[in-house]
């Protein structure tokens, strides 16, 4: 039993690393991402920065926007490289090989997430650094460990959500594309990527909190710009941290259950192998 558990654990870890690998090395082999993933988001950030400057907003607002711009990379990664990924894997024939392998599906999703986090963090750092240098953004974190903690917890919850979405997308075909499109812009808006989410009102912010980036961004802004956020904070940082932890555990739990359920359903309906639907 102990040997089995050890073997299973090793297979789990090897699977996760095996699936993360393409994303980790892929970045170094496709340098063109620099243009698309750093320069283009920076243009969008620039639009908001110049609006804030034109209306004479305090310089911290530039920081809000740059931070939001960096975090958009994660949301894009969740939609296009986590949620809809199993659909693409089905189209290329990888999904069948994932399914028949004697390994945990959660390990495969974890590998996708870890690889995605690595690749996206480099992109997000690119946007953040470029934003800080180009727009001279002031940064004065009250607590670096707390900031890192919030950031990591946000990623856990966010990628847990990505895993849950991936299991739902297991069943869908081309609809996956449309659904991912549908989620992209509205979440940019309601999660407060370019402004403190409280500006949308408490209830809208509460609803938007189902997307962990909403709480994560608000908490990170409070830790970076405590004085400016006093009038805009949605919830206290501690509450947001707790909520992120609950979301993370909840999403991972439901992802595990949903993955098993939808895999069985897809096998019954013959959708695991049906391409081009």
């Amino acid at each position: 039993m102990a040997v089995n558990l050890r073997a299973e654990t090793l297979t789990f870890l090897r699977t996760a690393w095996g699936r993360a690998y393409p994303r980790v090395v892929g970045m170094q082999r496709e340098k063109s991402w620099m243009l698309f993933d750093v320069f283009l988001p920076l243009l969008q950030v620039a639009a908001y920065v110049y609006i804030y400057r034109a209306i004479g907003a305090p310089p911290e607002f530039t920081g809000f926007v740059v931070l939001g711009g960096a975090m958009t990379a994660y949301w894009m990664n969740i939609l296009w490289s986590m949620a809809s990924q199993l659909y693409w894997e089905k189209e290329t024939g990888n999904l069948e090989l994932f399914i028949i392998a004697p390994t945990s599906r959660m390990a495969i999703l974890l590998g996708m997430a870890v690889g995605g986090i690595f690749a996206t963090t480099i992109r997000a750092l690119g946007v953040l650094l470029a934003g800080i240098l180009v727009f001279r953004v002031p940064m004065a974190p009250t607590s670096v460990p707390a900031l890192i903690g919030v950031f990591l917890l946000t990623l856990v919850a966010l990628y847990g959500m990505g895993m849950l979405m991936a299991s739902l997308f297991l069943l869908w075909g081309r609809q996956a594309w449309h659904i991912a499109n549908l989620f992209q812009e509205p979440v940019f808006l309601v999660s407060g990527f370019y402004f403190p989410v409280r500006a949308l009102g408490f209830l809208v912010a509460l609803g938007a909190s189902i997307v962990p980036i909403t709480l994560g961004l608000d908490a990170m802004r409070q830790l970076l710009y405590p004085q400016m956020m006093e009038g805009f904070r949605f919830l206290p940082v501690g509450v947001e941290l707790g909520a992120l932890a609950v979301l993370g555990v909840g999403f991972l739990f439901f992802a595990h259950r949903a993955l098993r359920f939808f895999e069985n359903l897809a096998r019954r309906e013959g959708r695991l192998t049906l391409r081009g639907q």
């Binding site: 090897r14 095996g18 069948e96 004697p102 192998t273």
Partner: protein, 341 residues
């Protein structure tokens, strides 16, 4: 003691798909992909499933590989029920499909293979050693460091083959593995497959194909399948022996002619298939005996056709299929029946 060990057993295995009707929105119709298929494949066998496109071969493999649930019937792989315990089945199987485009283009051949080895929990060092050996065997060693989006179809399929054999699975499913490959690559892979099963008598391969030649050359036993039903199952030689009381001829007549109605009326013609080729018509005939040839030739002459060639052939699996189904395998597979020998 002495009881036969079956690696694969199916009993009345059936799969029905519901597909949308084109003509009636919102309505579905049922398509029977596999119809009460019963098979038993012994450990150590290279077992072939021969049939035209759409015969149910891939559906059978998908069910056995735990990718698809059967609608009815049972299937066991390595002694484990595929519906009750798919997880356990997966510890024993591997699969390679023809025309597969699996893997990630940005990774090299050896990186892709290493990635798949990790899903089986192989140690990295052991996996890399095995990958080198397999790439050598399939003739892809010089491409180990090539990113797979630079590979040709044949090279990619060699890589897929290497992946299938990487974990030395107890039961390996090869679904049309040489489809679309050039002659040389197909031959390399067939030779490797036969060699592997000969060297590993405790392993089993189930291979589906619509290439008659491939099934004949490679397989210990062959099941002939059409429209989801298993029509016959035996060693290729035994299947062909079943036709030895009959006479098998191939005739070529000038022009593109439909001689079907004419031949259908000639006594002694058991089965026939005709195909247009290079401006002529090629006829494959199974006759009750050689005496039936004279009325066939008379009828052809009476129709104004000129006989260009006449050949008496030894029966092939193609003839067995024709005898069982009433259509030629090549004809049903719409040009896909030409084997890449």
């Amino acid at each position: 003691m002495g009881a036969r060990e079956f690696s694969i057993e199916t009993q009345d295995l059936t799969r029905v798909f519901r597909v949308k009707r084109r003509e009636a929105r919102g309505q579905t119709r049922e398509v029977v992909a596999l119809d009460r298929a019963t098979l038993a494949v012994e450990r150590g066998e290279l077992f072939g499933v021969l049939g035209p496109n759409g015969a149910g071969k891939t559906t059978l493999i998908k069910i056995l590989a735990t990718l698809l649930s059967p609608t009815a019937g049972t299937a066991r792989v390595a002694g484990v029920d595929v519906v009750e315990n798919p997880w356990e089945v997966r510890r024993h199987i591997g699969m390679v499909s023809g025309g597969e485009s699996s893997g990630y283009g940005l990774l090299t051949v050896e990186e892709n293979l290493w990635m798949f080895s990790q899903f089986y929990g192989m140690r990295s060092g052991e996996a890399k050693k095995r990958i080198r050996e397999l790439l050598e065997v399939v003739g892809l060693a010089d491409r180990a460091k090539t990113k797979i989006y630079h590979l040709s179809t044949g090279m990619r399929q060699k890589m897929n083959f290497a992946r299938g054999f990487l974990t030395d699975p107890e039961v390996l499913f090869l679904d049309e593995p040489t489809i679309g490959l050039d002659v040389q690559t197909a031959r390399t892979l067939r030779t490797f497959t036969r060699g592997w099963i000969d060297d590993h008598p405790d392993r089993t391969i189930l291979l589906t194909t619509h290439y008659m030649y491939e099934a004949d050359e490679l397989c210990d036993r062959v099941a002939i399948i059409d429209q989801g039903r298993v029509l016959a199952c035996d060693a290729p030689a035994a299947l062909k022996r079943g036709l030895q009381g009959e006479a098998v001829f191939r005739l070529t007549v000038d022009g593109d002619r439909d001689l079907g109605p004419l031949l259908g009326r000639v006594d002694g013609v058991q089965r026939f298939a005709h195909a247009a080729r290079d401006g002529h018509t090629e006829l494959d005939l199974i006759l009750a005996d050689e005496n039936a040839l004279v009325p066939v030739l008379t009828a052809i002459q009476g129709a104004g056709a000129r006989l260009l060639s006449l050949e008496k052939r030894e029966p092939t699996l193609e003839d067995v299929f024709l005898r069982l189904v009433g259509r030629s395998l090549t004809e049903v597979s719409e040009g896909g029946g030409e084997p890449p020998r």
